[in-house]
Symmetry: C2
Amino acid sequence: MKADAVRGHLDGLLLAVLEQGPLHGYAIIAAVQHRSGGVLELRTGTIYPALQRLERLGLLSSSWESSGERRRRCYALTEAGRHTLAGERTAWSEFTAAIGSVLNPTTPPPGLAT
Amino acid sequence: MKADAVRGHLDGLLLAVLEQGPLHGYAIIAAVQHRSGGVLELRTGTIYPALQRLERLGLLSSSWESSGERRRRCYALTEAGRHTLAGERTAWSEFTAAIGSVLNPTTPPPGLAT
DNA sequence: GCCAATATGTTGGTCCCCTATGCATACACT
DNA sequence: AGTGTATGCATAGGGGACCAACATATTGGC
């Protein structure tokens, strides 16, 4: 998987892994990597600005968790985030359908048993 | 479909529509639009530089078609292009599998009958 | 004391596509 | 003859998004 692959789909990934409960940045990286079968390895320089942006947009809310442990900024999905996630899923299926139908057309090239 | 959607997948689209025969730039735009069900509308400022780049890479070869008509630069897949196209298709399926498994995990969220 | 793992963040750079623009030819309509 | 529309190729400039690299701090093992 080329390094740049998630371009344009990062927001959906972040929202999706937070659907099942709040996580902090480092754990989000691990969650995405795990759920993608080890394929997607996000960088800190990628997700921290993205998380801040999503919080600015009101799709996430954050809080510091410091009790007994190392300080962690935990992000949780807001209602708006849940709604946006649903939209991202729809957009994803439309996107894959569009690209897929060009890349692998259902109309086969001529020449196989007419 | 957001304007920027094809980012990172343009090469595959161009190679794919040229698989069934040579086309010129304007026809490539029409072919992509048609095969995507009208969803993907590439711009000339997008594809002409891309076609030149793919030719530089040896994946396409071009020739001017001027006989009796308006001048057209027709692009055709080379053997290397055909090979790259196969790779793009593999990469595409890996890509969709990776993003899809994060966006729509097969492991459902806990709380539905065990 | 040192190093690895955990954890959050910023900075600079690059790539890639889009918007906007320009130019040229063919054809229909008036 | 002039105008408008469709066809056709091409470049310039801009911006967004992600990455690589770096900076900092704590925890725990050796």
